[in-house]
Symmetry: C2
Subunit: 339 residues, 2 copies
């Protein structure tokens, strides 16, 4: 058997690992954005027919998971494990979703990097034969995140222009061996990087060093360069982080400009009032599990790298004067020409 | 290659997977308990020399991880991944510990089941060759948990006798292929089970059905029965849960009585004022990574099953009237006679 790693931090999957199906559910602002046609479920209300925002968030996750399984032509009972996480305290969106699904759960927390963390570990478990089919899922909701991380929503606290807007949505992907769908080829597991930034509104800037660390590690480990991909996205650096990231990669001699974008910029129109762009677990999850997968299936994209970025702080840690530790995990996808 | 699973939920490790070293750090009450002689670090103060309880908790985790690596005769730079989780919002103890360690992080959340969740996935990654060495770690702290989950500690809220006492401590184990130390043979990944219990003080009762589900699945998947082990522990069911669990297993024709104990009962003396017993991620982690590993190394125990139990609720979920979804993950260990 080959070594299923290239370098210390990058896994190279040995089997033909596929994303068999994926689905997303989103809120009204996302449904009004430029990627609306790619989405499976769009809710015109932040409650999504539920009695609280928290219940709405888990409803979105449940919808995404159920639809992803359906689109994979599988039954819920065929899924061995759901790997899921979210931003809420004790990841309740994931716990209550898994409770409803009756599928074994591996709960994960990587803040907004959870989308690619769950997918990386899920793909590794399938590759090694620990599971036949897994679902990777995550969610975020603008109102549940605002009231938990910042101020009561009714207070109407003002934000600086460099702040970001938590995406309301959920994304899920079903991973299996063989079958049809884009191939998952590599995953790069990130280190926690903390450059001392303490402003909880400026997460884009805080997350850049982690994104640079994981992406340059990915290139070093795989021997690839940016133009080996026709699209490379970060999860949610927003406008500010996007520009700094491109500059910092250039200093390391990686020219990102022809292929680089950020999910937090892709999910909203420039004229939507989202400050510096989208953030939250759902930013990378919604864009990856809809637009990117659809393009890979259609063959209009052939090789994509998704680097999901997470700010690993809590209100308690920043109120105690701590800086914001960050992390990024990256997954590489390839289109497969079906015969 | 053999199928690395027996049954849908149980992983059977194919290689010679070992717990190369483990360590724990605890607070004063635990250091006054019956297992004190087994502990690596005992702090006589809840602050453990730090400026806040939160910083104390991550200091314990850091100590446990660093000592576990030392006891494995490895360098920190040889560890490929740390898999860690804790009870604090956004698992900040784990994030800040990983930030200090400079080792790639897979953050996990399974409430008090996190000890065996991180160890299961860590062992699977080593078994399949995705990592050479990993550390699994988790922590809890009585004061950080009280102020976060219940009332401000200074308020002195009274508790019912059936409540439990969050263990202050951290445990960590280093997993590698070959080498010396107890063997990790199986892991059973649990489903979320929710029987509608809503009292956040009665977690022992709430967690019983999840423990029963995972343990009976483990027996079914492996073809084993309770007396194939010379010790089986649950993580933190406490006095109330312990009794109900034994009864419910008996109804399924599994007689647990000769070999069964609960980590939450083992870690304190009966006369220590801890209500129904210990709870928290550290309950199973501290007992497993000290006493149980020491006994397996000494050969006084030969085969042990640790079933860590977790209550997957948050203050928001129970204040919104939700029941408490629970989960349990189990790991089987075997003593290895060194030549």
């Amino acid at each position: 058997m080959n070594e299923p790693r290239c370098g210390r931090q990058t896994w190279q999957f040995q089997q033909d690992i596929r994303l068999l199906g994926s689905a997303v559910a989103v809120g009204p602002l996302e449904g009004d954005g430029p990627l609306a046609a790619e989405f499976d479920h769009i809710h015109d209300n932040m409650y999504a027919g539920q009695k609280s925002w928290e219940k709405a968030e888990r409803h979105l996750m449940c919808q995404a998971v159920e639809t992803a399984i359906e689109k994979s032509n599988l039954l819920q009972s065929e899924i061995d494990i759901v790997l899921a996480g979210d931003l809420l305290n004790q990841t309740i969106s994931s716990n209550f979703t898994a409770s409803k699904l009756n599928i074994p759960l591996l709960g994960m927390f990587g803040a907004c990097s959870t989308s690619m963390e769950t997918l990386s570990v899920g793909a590794a478990l399938v590759d090694a034969g620990y599971a036949h089919y897994v679902v990777a899922a995550c969610s975020s909701h603008n109102c549940t995140a605002e009231k938990q991380f910042r101020y009561p929503t009714a207070y109407g606290g003002q934000k600086p222009e460099y702040a970001q807007w938590t995406v309301t949505g959920a994304g899920a992907g079903v991973v299996g061996k063989d079958g049809s769908g884009p191939r998952i080829t590599h995953a790069t597991i990130g280190k926690v990087v903390d450059m001392g930034i303490k402003d909880p509104f400026d997460m884009g800037t805080a997350m850049v060093p982690a994104a640079v660390d994981t992406m340059s590690t990915h290139f070093r480990d795989t021997g690839r360069v940016p133009h080996d991909y026709d699209l490379i996205v970060t999860g949610d650096l927003g406008k500010i982080g996007y520009a700094i990231f491109k500059d910092e990669m250039k200093e390391l001699a990686y020219d990102m400009s022809p292929v680089y974008n950020d999910c937090g910029l892709m999910i909203y129109r420039p004229d939507q009032a989202v400050f510096s762009g989208g953030s939250g677990c759902a930013s990378s999850a919604v864009v990856t599990y809809s637009y990117i997968m659809n393009q890979l299936r259609a063959g209009t994209l052939t090789r994509v790298l998704v680097c999901a970025t997470g700010a690993l702080f809590s209100p308690v840690s920043y109120q105690q004067g701590e800086s914001i530790p960050c992390i990024a995990h990256a997954v590489a996808f390839e289109a497969v020409k079906e015969e």
